[in-house]
Structures are given as structure tokens and as C-alpha cells.
């Protein structure tokens, strides 16, 4: 029963969806503060390469190395995000252009590939990677075993993140302030909330999450590094935030859906079921999603209907002299 297509698809959907989930949670935090971060793909790639580099270079226990790798990946993502924050919050540059530029700069033909190739990370198996860590007896339970208990630690960590972020947004003062900054920076500013600080912090934390998402790919899913390994996951993550109506719990559902979609082709292939040209559609998905995102964020009416933060994409200038 645990080998049935449905169970395998859901289980691998959860695993493949986890990088998407991390990245979309990060994007959600940035967008809730009013900053559209189109640099997620680049931040994921940099996180992926830096995480993998840590695992290759640091000689310590597996657990310590992996945690350190995650921290370094998150830090790398945050550093990239700091560039974006400086451009769009301090210099008030166009958010779409800045984000795209950052992704191109860090992307498959840029910084991340340069780092990976220069540090000789290609074609090497990971020295450590995340494995399922609950007892085998639990993993063998029918249906829920592989789906819920057969996952690696990052999956469980992502669940904690979803809960924490959901509570943060809906129940805490900081979350309320954050939402106010994204909806009406002028009102927030009047009430004494530092708009610039909130935007910086959440873009940086968002970048850290993207880095974490990238490292999830190189440390848990395909424990190796190749150039452009995220294959557009960042774009899907951005689209996910929109389809999840800017709510973390729906990001989780969406991430697993797209994760399962990603797992579909190899699973069918393994069972000798031919998909034919549909595979092409799956490969085109990130790009179609990108177009969808750009259409949605540039149409005011659609944005309002979906519930986008009202100040998303708009730099804040206090009317003062």
C-alpha cells in the first residue's frame, strides 16, 4: 500500500515541496512588509551553493555540519537580500527591476555558478545530507508512515516555521505592525512604526528563508550541486505566495501540490507510464508562473481582489521636508 502511486506522490510532494515552502514563507514576509522580492531564485541558488560548500569543507559531526550549513545558507540568502533591501527601501528603486537584476546577477549564469565552479563543488556527492530520522517502525505505518514520518528534519522544521509565522502575523504586535507597514505605510509611520526598519528586517529574513530553501535542495533532495540546481523553484515560490493569498498555511498546501507535480514525471517513468509531451509543460511551469506573477502584480484590480498588501511594490516616502 505504501508503494501505491498516490502515497508515493504525496510523500515526495512533501519532500520536493519543502524548498518551495521555505522560499515562499520568506517571500511572504517580504511582501507583507510591502516589498516584492523577485530575487528569490538568485537567493536560493546562492544558499544552495553555500550550504553545499559548508558540508564539503567542514569536518565535524553530521548534525553539527548540517546545522552550520543551514546557517551559512541562510546568511548567504540574507546578504543577497540586503542588496535588494538597500536598493528598494533606501534608494527606492523599482522593485521589479531590482529583483530581476538580482536574480540574473546571482543566477545560473552568474554568482552562484561562479562560486560552485571555483570551489570545485560540481560532480561530488554530498558528504552529509538530511535523511529520514524517525524509527523505521513508524515509517512503515500504512499511508501516514511515508507521508508524515518518513521525512527529513527540514520538513518538520518547515512545519514549525509555518505555525510560528502564522501566529506571528495574526496574534502578535510585531505582526500587526508588519501588516500595517505593508498595507498603509503612512498610517504605520504616523503611529510610530519604523517603516524602513520593518522592511529591512523582513526582506532580510525573507532572504534567509530563500537561502534555506536552496540548501534544502542541495542537502536533502538531491544531495549534490550542479549549476542552476533550483530550476526555477524561486519563481514558483513567488507565484505560490499569490495563490496562497499571502497566508502561510496555504503556502504549505500549494508547495506540496507543486512538489507532487514535480515528482509526477519521474514516478510515472519509473512505472513505465509514458507522458509524452506533457513533460514539456512541467518544465515550462516556472516560466509560466513568472508570467502569471508579473501579470498579477501589475494589475491593480486583481491585486486588490486577491488580497495583496496594498502597498506592495511601492516605495514609502514620508511627506516631509
Amino acid at each position: 500500500m505504501n508503494n501505491s502511486l498516490a502515497v508515493v506522490l504525496i510523500a515526495s510532494g512533501v519532500a520536493y515541496g519543502t524548498p518551495l515552502l521555505f522560499a515562499s514563507l520568506g517571500e511572504l514576509l517580504a511582501e507583507r512588509s510591502g516589498v516584492l522580492n523577485l530575487g528569490v531564485e538568485g537567493m536560493m541558488l546562492v544558499g544552495a551553493v553555500m550550504g553545499f560548500w559548508t558540508v564539503e569543507r567542514v569536518h565535524a559531526t553530521t548534525a553539527f555540519t548540517l546545522v552550520l550549513a543551514l546557517l551559512i545558507a541562510a546568511l548567504a540568502g540574507a546578504v543577497m537580500a540586503a542588496i535588494l533591501a538597500f536598493l528598494v527601501v533606501t534608494l527606492r528603486a523599482n522593485q521589479i527591476v531590482s529583483g530581476l537584476a538580482l536574480t540574473i546577477f546571482a543566477g545560473a549564469a552568474g554568482l552562484s555558478s561562479y562560486l560552485g565552479n571555483n570551489l570545485n563543488l560540481a560532480d561530488r556527492p554530498a558528504r552529509h545530507s538530511f535523511q529520514a530520522f524517525l524509527p523505521n517502525s513508524m515509517q512503515n505505518w500504512p499511508i501516514v508512515g511515508p507521508i508524515l514520518f518518513g521525512q527529513n528534519a527540514l520538513v518538520y522544521f518547515s512545519w514549525v516555521c509555518v505555525v510560528v509565522i502564522a501566529l506571528y502575523l495574526s496574534r502578535t504586535r510585531l505582526g500587526l505592525n508588519l501588516r500595517a507597514v505593508g498595507e498603509s505605510p503612512a498610517a504605520a509611520d504616523t503611529m510610530g512604526i519604523n517603516v524602513t526598519r520593518y522592511r529591512y528586517v523582513h526582506v532580510l529574513v525573507g532572504g534567509a528563508f530563500a537561502g534555506l530553501g536552496g540548501a534544502t535542495i542541495t542537502l536533502a533532495i538531491t544531495p549534490q550541486w550542479v549549476s542552476g540546481i533550483t530550476e526555477g523553484a524561486g519563481w514558483i515560490a513567488i507565484a505560490l505566495v499569490i495563490f496562497a493569498f499571502w497566508r502561510p498555511e496555504l503556502c504549505l498546501v500549494g508547495a506540496y501540490f507543486f512538489g507532487a507535480l514535480q515528482a509526477l514525471a519521474p514516478q510515472l517513468q519509473a512505472r513505465n507510464i509514458s507522458l509524452g509531451p506533457t513533460v514539456l509543460w512541467a518544465n515550462a511551469l516556472p516560466y509560466l508562473m513568472t508570467i502569471a506573477v508579473l501579470v498579477v502584480v501589475s494589475s491593480g484590480t486583481t491585486r486588490r481582489r486577491l488580497g495583496a498588501p496594498a502597498a506592495l511594490g511601492v516605495a514609502y516616502v514620508r511627506e516631509e521636508h
Binding site: T172, R173, R179, E183, D189, M191, G192, T301
Partner: protein, 522 residues
């Protein structure tokens, strides 16, 4: 009034400069606890600048602010709020998607909503109590966007009260209210003053200032020209202070130029607003040649959508329009222009002109087909045409090459009028044509509207300014929630006011009768 006590708020020699202008010039101003103090002045006189200085949004270049005798220096609005100085802005600074309670919790630093884990319900009791005490009823669980503009204003005032405001500034608070709502607001303000708070009421409307204030400080060109007790002032004396000379108001001889020929005939018109819900709901109306039909109403009742539909900017979903007898093509601005429809839009800088283009180019936007030879523009002709227009319409500028964005409001409006009055005009749609203009520019614009009617054009005047409507109209139609109804007595403030608040006409069985009632009389 505790005249002997220290003033609640006081400025000494406040000067605030902006590039090219001095917005406040050595302003001395003081208000005592327990009074409603009006700040009166024309647009651009420096009222808003002064209040922004006093509430922490601007920092003065020179001078001192004292609060209850103590010198203070606010670096941001929050400093002012913490000191008990709050401002209700013209555009309320509320988070639209939040509930009323969430908005109050947002700024709460000492009340029931200050905790790290937020509980908007904790403040509900207090909202209800404040609402009852000050006659500001509002549902604390409603989201701001669901509330009418008047209700949103109540929330903004409640927020200030919740923050324990000792000094409250209100910037043109009645601009968005019906006359009835304004009266209720005045009672609230009086009550707040009676409790020892200081209310500073910013306005350029004389009758409101006379109605609500204890004292008036008049500003002109950034300077204080006088502070008087309201009881010792008259509208005439205040006007003289405000503008420096007595005003002659434009008067309209009703129906003087009205002819029988219909220029605009709208039948059962429906159009959607920006959010996709109907904003114009079955409007029928008729404008005759030489007639000024005024559409009164609080902004946001579908006036903008109606004007957009008539001028072709917004496709209508149902109904028909004829200009000079010929049906108008739906949603085609050029067809409307060719049919003789001219438009002076509400947003004169954004919609009325292309701000970064020069005067000459802006004038050519309508007439470019006459100003071109093949694909090429005749630049010299454009220049001379522009020079003539600048002369004819008295546009104060440095010449045809000056950027439209650098014109003052009044001259910008003259530019729009100069462009729109070109060619064969049949119908002029003017939306809030004098909003934000100073008195002399208002006069000029009114003269142009009267001119348009006198030369046989029909004028559809959409305005929120009752004085303007009373001065110019041949007929008055009130627009409320997308529907129109004709007012019986075109000079009755009471009737127009009631209709603006949504009262249905008690007598006339066909409120939106498109057929003109027998010649309107005064």
C-alpha cells in the same frame, strides 16, 4: 475660557520654507485649553503647513513650539501623539484592511491593546464607551474599507481620543461630509472642548468657522493676519482678512441663456466603478444648450464614473447617450470629443494634463491633427497658438515651453480650459473645477463656465461645493449612491443637503425625470 492659564499649544516665530516659497513666515499662534480654535485661510495660505509643523510631520526652520508652556521639539508624528497632540488628516491615516479595533491597537502604547500578544477585542468596550460619550458610533469589528467616509472620520477622531489627545487638529474635516454629518461633527468638537481639550479646526469655509469656533486665527500668504473672537467677527470681516479685499461674487441670472435645444440626453445609464460593481445606476438626465446643470453630492457617489462615461473614458454597461441628437459611441473619448464634448476633469494634474510636457504640447494634445503636416508636427504653429492661448486665458507662465507641472493650480486649470474650449463645444463636463484653487482663480474659472453657457454650450457641473452650485446652477440634480434625483428648489441648501445624505424626495413621484421641468425659475 481659562485665558490666564498657559496656552495648550503656542508657536513663537515659526518659519517654514519650501524650495521657492515661504509657507509659514514668523507665525505666532496660540490656543488655550477648552476652545475650538479655527485656522482660516485660502488654499496655500499655510494652514496645513502650520499644523504639520505642530504635529511633528515637518520640522520648522526657525521658531519654537510650546506645549502647556514647555518648549517641545517633535521629530515625528509619534512624538506629538505621545505628548497628546493628534491630527485628523484629510486623507485619514488608517489601515483600510484592518478592523476599527485593530487600527486603535496599532498605535496603542499604554491602553488595553498594548500587549505583545494582541487582542483587538480588549479595546472594544472602550471604543463603545468613547463612541457613546462623543456621539461617534462605530462598529469596532468593521473593517475600514467597509465604512463610509464619514464613519472613517469618526474612527480617526476616536483614535485620537483613544490616544488621549489633549490638542486635536482637524484638517478640512467637513470636506467629505454632508451638511448633517458636519453638524454632528461640530457637536462632537464642542463637547471635546467643553471637557478641556483644545480643538484646532482648519478650514477655508467661513460659515463653518462661524458656526463652530470660539476664536479664529486668519492666515494669508504664510503670515498671521489676525486672531479674533468669533463672536466679534462677521463673515465679511473674516473675508477681508483672508483675501485682503472684499470679494465680488459671480452671480448668475438663471435661465438667461437657456435654449430649448437639447445638447446632452442620457437615458438609463449604467457604468461600473473601478472595483467592478455598478457605480452609476440608471441615470437619466438632460442638459439643454446654454444651461448649467449642477450635480451635487458627496464624492464617491458615482459622479466620477458618470463624467468618465459621458466623456467616453469609461465604457458604460447599459443605457444610451446622445449629444446634439446623435448617439455617442460607447467608451470612445475621441468620438465624444468630435461630437463636441469637452472635459475639465477632477484630477487636473494627473488626468487634465501631461505634467512633464510643456504648455504648448499640452495645448496640442487635442488639436494635433490641425497642427501637423503629414506625420510631422508644425512646431512653430504650435508655439504661436500657445502664445495666443496664454494671452487669451491669462495663464501666468514663463512661456509656451514651461512644463505644465510647474504651473500653479489656478493656471493649470486655465490651461486645461484653454485646451478644452477649442473647436466646436456643445457640452462641457466640469468636475470639481475649482477644488483647491484660491479665490481669484475660482472667479476666473466660474467666468469661463458662464461664458461656455452664454455661447450656447451646455454645462454639466459636478461639484461638492454648495456655494459654487448655488451660484452657478440653472438646475440642480443630486447624485447619491449612483442614482440622481432632481431638486425642486434649486436654491435650497436644506433640500440639497438632505438629498446628499440620501433622503428621498417626498413629493416628486419621478425623481430622475429626464424631461426638463418647465423653465426653471428661482
Amino acid at each position: 475660557m481659562a485665558q490666564a492659564a498657559a496656552p495648550a499649544i503656542e508657536t513663537i516665530g515659526i518659519t517654514k520654507r519650501f524650495p521657492g516659497t515661504v509657507a509659514n513666515d514668523r507665525v505666532d499662534f496660540s490656543a488655550v485649553p477648552g476652545e475650538v480654535h479655527a485656522l482660516l485661510g485660502e488654499n496655500g495660505a499655510g494652514k496645513t503647513t502650520l499644523s504639520n509643523v505642530l504635529t511633528g510631520l515637518y520640522r520648522p526652520d526657525e521658531g519654537e513650539v510650546r506645549l502647556f508652556g514647555e518648549p517641545v521639539s517633535f521629530t515625528c508624528p509619534r512624538d506629538a501623539i505621545d505628548a497628546g497632540v493628534c491630527m485628523v488628516h484629510q486623507h485619514f491615516r488608517l489601515v483600510e484592511r484592518f478592523t476599527v479595533a485593530e487600527n486603535l491597537v496599532l498605535g496603542d502604547r499604554r491602553g488595553a491593546g498594548r500587549h505583545f500578544l494582541i487582542d483587538p477585542r480588549a479595546v472594544e468596550g472602550q471604543v463603545r464607551e468613547l463612541g457613546e460619550r462623543y456621539r461617534l458610533p462605530v462598529d469596532s469589528r468593521a473593517r475600514i474599507w467597509q465604512l463610509s467616509v464619514g464613519e472613517q472620520q469618526r474612527v480617526a477622531i476616536l483614535n485620537a481620543l483613544y490616544q488621549n489627545a489633549r490638542v486635536l487638529f482637524l484638517d478640512e474635516p467637513t470636506a467629505v461630509l454632508t451638511p448633517d454629518e458636519a453638524d454632528t461633527l461640530f457637536e462632537t468638537l464642542r463637547q471635546m472642548a467643553a471637557e478641556g481639550r483644545t480643538v484646532i479646526f482648519i478650514s477655508h469655509k467661513l460659515h463653518e468657522v462661524m458656526a463652530v469656533s470660539d476664536r479664529v486665527t486668519v492666515l494669508r500668504d504664510g503670515r498671521v493676519v489676525g486672531t479674533v473672537k468669533t463672536s466679534e467677527a462677521t463673515p465679511q470681516s473674516l473675508t477681508a482678512l483672508m483675501v485682503g479685499h472684499d470679494l465680488q461674487t459671480v452671480t448668475r441670472v438663471p435661465a438667461a441663456s437657456v435654449r430649448e435645444e437639447t445638447v446632452l440626453d442620457v437615458e438609463d445609464l449604467w457604468a461600473d466603478g473601478d472595483r467592478g460593481v455598478p457605480a452609476v445606476k440608471g441615470v437619466s438626465l438632460r442638459v439643454r444648450a446654454g444651461e448649467i446643470v449642477a450635480i451635487a453630492g458627496v464624492a464617491g457617489n458615482g459622479q466620477r464614473e458618470l463624467a468618465d462615461s459621458i466623456t467616453g473614458l469609461r465604457p458604460h454597461t447599459r443605457g444610451e447617450m446622445r449629444v446634439g441628437g446623435a448617439a455617442l459611441k460607447n467608451g470612445d473619448p475621441r468620438a465624444a470629443f468630435d461630437a463636441g464634448v469637452r472635459y475639465v476633469p477632477e484630477d487636473r494634474l494627473g488626468t487634465g494634463v501631461a505634467p512633464s510636457l510643456s504648455i504648448a504640447w499640452n495645448l496640442a494634445l487635442r488639436a494635433y491633427r490641425h497642427l501637423s503636416r503629414g506625420p510631422l508636427l508644425r512646431l512653430r504653429r504650435m508655439r504661436t497658438d500657445a502664445e495666443q492661448a496664454i494671452q487669451a486665458y491669462d495663464i501666468k507662465s514663463s512661456g509656451p515651453a514651461m512644463q505644465a507641472a510647474n504651473l500653479s493650480g489656478g493656471n493649470l486649470q486655465k490651461l486645461v480650459i484653454a485646451r478644452e474650449f477649442s473647436g466646436a463645444m456643445k457640452l462641457l463636463v466640469a468636475a470639481s473645477p475649482t477644488r483647491g484653487l484660491d479665490v481669484s482663480a475660482v472667479e476666473t474659472v466660474h467666468e469661463h463656465l458662464l461664458d461656455a453657457a452664454a455661447t450656447g454650450g451646455g454645462v454639466l457641473l459636478i461639484s461638492e461645493d454648495l456655494d459654487e452650485i448655488l451660484a452657478l446652477n440653472d438646475r440642480v440634480v443630486v447624485m447619491y449612491e449612483g442614482e440622481v434625483s432632481e431638486v425642486e428648489d434649486r436654491q435650497s441648501v436644506e433640500e440639497i443637503g438632505l438629498r446628499m445624505a440620501g433622503a428621498t424626495p417626498s413629493e416628486s413621484p419621478e425623481p430622475a425625470d429626464p424631461a426638463p421641468s418647465p423653465s426653471p425659475t428661482a
